[in-house]
């Protein structure tokens, strides 16, 4: 459930980057304070382990599909939440850079969705609460299952919220949530079973490597986390409300579903401002207008506003024909020229 770059607006992506930086900074401080040197190579190797484990699938009986390890909760159970967050963040970074899973703009979203929720929410508040102290098979399995399901549900919900706040995809909130949450419930159960079984395996083979679950007090962590969560939610909500092209994803989805079409008012201030700059500085501000029929201007204003995207959405009958044709022709020619340049440029150094 990696969030993709193409669905995230810069404001949502940037806010999540800030949140992810805060999380990484916090976990780095906690790891440095713990002075456990052996964590340095262990974290690195376990990151590589998660990669490898994700490449191996098992068949789910009776369904024909296959499952694999997610890794977030397993890492938290083995390393504690801080080191786990750091390992997950590093895995996601390598995935974004080498495998094009997710992307750089969406990296912050992915670290929050796949790192924060398992390591800082599901692990301390579910897993550790159920396991309480020394690992014990039955309780450990229940804990792993419950924590995996919760972590993935929160992550999936977060994907839906981030997509909505970005306002690039048109999916209504309800429909998207109704699609994502059940799918990730199933994935969570499978992942929970795998995590439970692997932790139980390790507990049988080498019980000494499992940390005692209450090794560090949970209480000291809570205010920090709560503050972080609230801050992220607030900044995310406020900033995206101010800047995204859809002020409130939920409101918009409701309006959409109930059939009230007030889309034109939903253009956000940020995009509007940028396109205003674009118009003011346009090379040929009126070329499109000349070819647009006169009825295209319901308000009788001048060409600059008729060309704006707001007007395009407002009056579907009055399509700015000139602009779109110029856009299509220009876009195609630009693409051709660039690919030709790439071709020429590639041959050129060898010829010299």
């Amino acid at each position: 459930m990696h969030m993709a770059d193409a669905l995230v607006s810069p404001v949502v992506g940037g806010t999540m980057w800030l949140a992810a930086c805060g999380l990484i900074g916090h976990s780095v401080r906690r790891i440095e304070a713990s002075a456990k040197d052996h964590l340095v190579p262990l974290m690195g190797v376990l990151g590589a382990f998660v990669f490898t484990a994700q490449m191996i699938n098992f068949t789910i009986p009776g369904t024909g599909s296959s499952g694999h390890l997610g890794g977030g909760l397993l890492l938290a159970a083995l390393l504690g939440p801080h080191a786990a967050l750091l390992v997950i963040a590093s895995v996601l970074t390598v995935q974004a850079l080498f495998f094009a899973d997710g992307g750089l703009l969406a990296l912050g979203c992915n670290i929050v969705n796949l790192g924060f929720f398992p390591a800082y929410v599901a692990y301390p508040w579910v897993y550790r609460v159920i396991v309480r102290g020394r690992y014990e098979a039955m309780r450990g399995s229940v804990a792993a299952l419950a924590a995996s399901v919760l972590g993935l549900q929160l992550g999936a919900l977060s994907v839906v919220l981030q997509t909505q706040a970005s306002g690039i995809a048109e999916l209504p909130f309800g429909a998207f949530a109704a699609l994502m949450l059940p799918i990730h419930l199933a994935i969570g159960v499978v992942e929970g079973c795998v995590t439970a079984a692997v932790v139980a395996f390790v507990a049988r083979a080498r019980p000494e490597v499992l940390p005692v679950a209450d090794a560090e007090p949970v209480r000291s962590l809570r205010p920090v986390l709560a503050a972080l969560l609230i801050a992220a939610a607030l900044t995310g909500g406020l900033l995206s409300g101010w800047a995204s092209s859809l002020p409130d994803g939920l409101e918009w989805a409701i309006a959409r579903l109930s059939g009230t079409e007030e889309v034109s008012a939903l253009r956000g201030t940020w995009h509007a401002r940028l396109s205003a700059v674009q118009e003011r500085t346009a090379v040929m501000p009126d070329y499109a207008f000349r070819q647009t029929p006169l009825s295209a201007r319901p308000d009788g204003s001048d060409g600059a506003s008729a060309e704006s995207t707001t007007a395009r959405a407002d009056a579907p009958s009055a399509l700015p024909l000139g602009t779109s044709v110029a856009g299509v022709v220009g876009g195609a020619v630009t693409l051709l020229v660039i690919s030709w340049l790439g071709f020429v440029f590639r041959k050129w150094p060898r010829a010299v």
Partner: protein
């Protein structure tokens, strides 16, 4: 079994490393400059209105220029892009379903704004993913992490990235040997059963932990005291600020003016 494909992907990672070791002018640009430019590029591309198409076209210059100047073969990038697209395609494909307002007219053909935004999502996906892949292909993990530390990323995290990357190949080989063993011992059985899978993953995990312990002892034997020391060699050259500045200027121009549309209008004027 998704393993053959996974092996393909591994080979590709190794290939990225090879590409990053070239000595082209692009590869000589400082990793910091490339990181900053890449992030800026992605931010600018994603800041366009969601149904923008033509204004995005000039931005293809950036990946194409890096690809040709850095001698990065397009085929390997495209293969990775094909892997990356599905989620964006799946979510974006619903845009035409939910948004049927007509937005563009090409003669008798009316295109809905949903299709426009879907195409726009695809374009953005191509642009941002190729920019991220090119960043690694033109710097390599080692230099990239150095650059990150000098940009203020905590050392612990950069070292974590380097460690992860270094042991990726070793553990992947181990995983591959294990799955091959299972395949050879269970002819005619498709897939791995859950019980077998758990013991497989469990053993892989125990071996990984034992390996980490050996590495730790080796580090201690060489005087590791918990402090991480990194050595930087490359100073900034004149080309680095020029690289950042030049691209920033281009991004700004292409963000404010729709270059493609202006070109189209100019051409149409010439024709008509």
């Amino acid at each position: 079994m998704a393993f053959p494909m996974a092996v393909e992907r591994w080979l590709d990672v190794a290939r990225m490393d090879e590409l990053a070791r070239q000595g082209t002018p692009v590869h000589r640009i400082d990793a910091r400059a490339q990181t900053v430019t890449t992030l800026l590029f992605i931010g600018v591309v994603m800041s366009f209105a969601r149904d923008e198409l033509s204004a995005l076209m000039p931005f293809f210059i950036y990946p194409v220029a890096l690809m040709s100047a850095g001698r990065i073969p397009a085929a390997s990038l495209l293969r990775k892009l094909a892997v990356a697209m599905p989620f964006a395609v799946a979510v974006g494909l619903l845009n035409p379903v939910f948004d049927t307002r007509p937005a563009l007219a090409l003669g008798p053909l009316h295109v809905s704004s949903g299709w426009l935004s879907f195409l726009s999502i695809m374009l953005r996906c191509l642009l941002t993913v190729s920019a991220a892949l090119l960043l690694v292909a033109c710097t390599g993990m080692q230099r990239l992490c150095e650059g990150l530390v000098r940009l203020g990323v905590p050392r612990v995290f950069a070292v974590q990235l380097l460690f992860l990357y270094r042991y990726l190949f070793l553990l992947a080989d181990e995983g591959r040997r294990m799955t091959r063993g299972i395949e050879l011992r269970s002819p005619g059985v498709r897939g791995v059963r859950f019980r077998v899978y758990v013991s497989l993953i469990g053993h892989l995990l125990l071996r990984a932990m034992a390996r980490a312990e050996r590495i730790y002892h080796a580090m201690q034997a060489r005087g590791f005291d918990g402090r991480i020391r990194l050595q930087f060699t490359s100073p900034l050259r004149l080309a680095d600020p020029l690289f950042v500045g030049g691209w920033t200027l281009f991004f700004a121009v292409a963000r404010v003016w729709n270059l493609a549309e202006a070109l189209g209008a100019l051409l149409m004027k010439g024709v008509g």
